[in-house]
């Protein structure tokens, strides 16, 4: 802090250099955008924590309606989990291609990631439609309300991630792997892997523990 106004202090030699009003020796984060995006992810984590707490409180309040053990189809959930996990590794490959400045490879892996993500959202929507069709919609019981809110919020995140991914694919096609685009791809990478982390909580806490007696 002591070097805040070093060039102003020697009065006689004031003309020799323009005054500097920033800390020359201060620590900068290596990349402010990525740190800021990480802070956003942490706040998103708090949103999910609230929804998980809500499900944890209400998850056994069936209101005389169907229980998790009756509704959840674990093989479908396993397929969904596999899709999301695979999309994580394909995004990782896209980042590796990006680091080698290979535009075509990056785009190909991004496209595969998007398809896997779309498959995930598709299966989830199908599951939701099936539940609602059976009369187990979000209005049926507190358990189903909290279930649809938690899993739906995660699905919404993945959907917006896909929108972002398509946008970035267009950006990379038009402008190449520029500095800005590489930074954006790294942000989306964090977002995508973060959603996979949240899904670990969902399939464990909601589906696997939901079918236990």
């Amino acid at each position: 802090m002591s070097d805040l106004s070093p060039s102003l202090a020697p009065g006689g030699a004031g003309a020799r250099a323009a005054p500097r009003f920033y800390l020359s020796g201060a620590h900068h984060p290596e990349n402010g955008t990525l740190l800021g995006f990480w802070l956003y992810l942490m706040s998103d984590c708090l949103v999910f924590a609230c929804l998980f707490a809500c499900y944890g409180v209400l998850g056994r309040s069936y209101g005389g309606g169907p229980t998790g053990a009756q509704l959840f189809e674990l093989p479908v959930v396993a397929v969904n989990t596999a899709l999301l996990l695979l999309s994580s590794i394909t995004y990782g490959f896209a980042v590796l291609q990006m680091q080698r400045r290979r535009r075509a490879g990056t785009l190909a892996w991004l496209a595969l990631t998007g398809l896997l993500g779309a498959g995930f959202v598709g299966i989830e929507l199908h599951e939701f439609a099936h539940l609602i069709h059976e009369g187990a919609g979000p209005q049926r019981s507190a358990f189903l309300s909290s279930f649809f809110t938690l899993v739906g919020t995660h699905g919404l995140h993945v959907s917006f991630g896909i929108v972002w991914l398509v946008t970035l694919m267009i950006q990379v096609t038009k402008h190449g792997l520029s500095t800005a685009n590489r930074r954006r791809l790294m942000c989306l990478s964090m977002f995508w892997h973060f959603l996979d982390v949240v899904w670990i909580g969902v399939f464990t806490f909601v589906y696997l523990m939901g079918v236990l007696p």
């Binding site: 955008t33 740190l35 990480w38 707490a53 396993a78 989990t81 596999a82 996990l85 590794i89 696997l208």
Partner: protein, 139 residues
């Protein structure tokens, strides 16, 4: 918080705020990404996903509470694996600020989850439905 001498990206800090990102981008997360890291993380998470599904779907353990604990423990391990191998978390990235934010968030998450469950469990206990017989004898 002095800059490590070995890093070439740190040299022009302070003087060139205009060309932000020109050098920074390859750092900050991406530099840790390697094929080996991703494949290790993927293999670990496949195993850590397969085990809980197998435990529950194959009804391996008899006690539901033991099963729940095992599944939760495996999920915790898998989250750490994802954090390290996919999100490239370590104590040094961004000068330790990401780790600090993560720890702070974890504290809040633990308070939110355990607090909610604890309080609401006790409220549920006190709000247990009573029989009509008990209702009649109430003051």
């Amino acid at each position: 918080m002095s800059a490590p001498a070995g890093s070439p990206h740190r040299d022009d800090h302070g003087q060139g705020d205009d060309h932000h990102g020109e050098h920074h981008d390859e750092d900050g997360g991406a530099s840790h990404a390697t094929l080996k890291g991703y494949l290790t993380g993927f293999a670990l998470s496949v195993v850590l996903t397969a085990i809980p599904f197998w435990l529950v779907m194959g009804k391996v353990l008899d006690q539901p509470s033991a099963l729940a604990l095992a599944v939760l423990a495996l999920a915790a391990v898998q989250i750490v694996v994802h954090m390290v191998y996919f999100l490239h978390m370590n104590a040094k990235s961004e000068g330790g600020w990401t780790m600090l934010a993560l720890i702070f968030t974890l504290v809040l998450v633990v308070i939110t989850l355990s607090g909610s469950l604890w309080v609401m469990y006790h409220l549920n206990q006190n709000m247990m439905p009573v029989s009509t017989q008990q209702m009649r004898n109430m003051p």
